[in-house]
Symmetry: C2
Subunit: 263 residues, 2 copies
């Protein structure tokens, strides 16, 4: 791929989940030709293919050739898909989008390969401006790195080279600050639901909690009963939680807050 972004280049989207949907849309917007969307079964793939005006393919053996194959399937499906797909397209560049899967997945299967990992949470229902999503790239050789970096730069203003071992650590951080955080929102909603309160009452608090760590380190930003050592509140709140798993989670979080505040 040349520095002239993705104009005139072609891609096949392998997978039709949240990441494939958002990257596929963005690639097409930058002028990239999406030659096909591959998905074994999902109904959502039909929607994505229709939106992008391209073919939905359900057999890896039938895929057209393309400059780039972008693999955004579940992590545990990646080895099988790569093994079937790569040898059929020896001249193409292959990249996966997974945080925790090493680039070496492609070793011995493809000649030119790499990773484009978007550090973001994608939901199909929400439009997303990819230009603000940090993209982390890695590639098998200098030419592949240049090609993937150019592609990434055509999509986002934050493009960083990162090796597989570091990316795996960053992905773990992301699970904590995004997936687990969202789950705490869900537990908060459950408590609000049970006393008939709208979840929306919590939104100013949720927003400020996120905004604060733009200015203060999370350790300095910590507030609440656990960091104050307010045992009376912690005991009372533990007793209020009916669900034993949630009660145990409450205890562990308090313990972990107290631990980090002593470090």
């Amino acid at each position: 791929m040349t520095p002239q972004a993705t104009q005139g280049r072609s891609v096949v989207l392998v997978g039709a989940g949240n990441v494939a949907t958002h990257l596929g849309r963005a690639l097409q917007e930058t002028g990239c030709e999406v030659r096909a969307v591959y998905s074994r079964s999902e109904a959502s793939a039909r929607v994505l293919a229709a939106e992008l005006g391209t073919r939905l393919m359900t057999d890896l053996a039938d895929l057209p050739d393309a400059d780039l194959f972008l693999l955004s399937v579940k992590d545990d499906a990646l080895p099988g898909v790569a093994a079937q797909l790569c040898p059929r397209h020896p001249g193409s560049l292959f990249a996966h989008t997974a945080g925790s899967v090493p680039m070496s997945l492609f070793g011995g299967l493809a000649r030119r390969y790499g990773v484009i990992y978007p550090l973001q949470t994608f939901s199909r229902q929400r439009r997303m401006d990819i230009s603000f999503v940090p993209l982390f790239v890695e590639a098998s050789d200098a030419a592949a790195l240049a090609a993937l970096t150019d592609l990434a730069r055509s999509l986002s203003r934050y493009v960083v080279e990162m090796d597989s071992a570091t990316r795996r650590q960053m992905h773990l951080s992301a699970v904590f600050v995004c997936n687990f955080v969202n789950h705490l929102y869900a537990l908060g909603e459950q408590i609000m639901d049970r006393c008939g309160l709208p979840f929306d009452l919590l939104l100013p608090l949720i927003d400020e909690t996120a905004r604060k760590v733009h200015e203060l380190s999370p350790r300095r930003a910590q507030t609440g009963p656990a960091v104050r050592g307010d045992k009376a509140v912690m005991d009372a709140q533990t007793a209020m939680i009916g669900d034993p798993d949630m009660r145990e989670l409450y205890r562990m979080m308090c313990k972990s807050i107290e631990k980090i505040s002593r470090q």
Copy 2:
């Protein structure tokens, strides 16, 4: 207190922590006279008193009279402070600002009393526009409720009446979506630190995670290995975590996500 906001009214701030600091500033800005700041020891109290141009008092017995005594001390110090203070000022209105402490704390001690609970996370270092902070009020009688509601409305555009039992539940939700969420940010930072990555790389993800739940319910917004049932990633990530408490927390969060996604 009349509907003419707090102009010409007087308040004594009992406590000089984050909540007292932010409410004290906001009250003074609306024209309320802050007659004194009480704190037994904290150096931060000296800073607050100086900022507000008022006296720092360290003995409850010395406090001047005021229309309102606003008690923002630690939950477990509230009963003792109320017991000493209320009988000395029989004509005053008393309010505490605690989420988990019932209004009945003042029962038998004061004639007119209530609660103003701000649902927000306050850090001394961050300026805060109180007008966007939801305030939850409760009072001993209709006149006290009117007075506290007027005061609250002079500070914020979101003022809601709420009883002690409901407020306690909402405070528990707040601990999940704010205090525990911030702690997950701190754990994410710890992982980033260990591989030499700046925490700031996570900010776009943190922001989007918070923004998403303005549009989608947290349950629908959930992404990541646990909700996908991606056991390979979960096993690999569990193995990456060196600290046993953090590893256990990871396992519990995944289990809790899987549980809520099945409901």
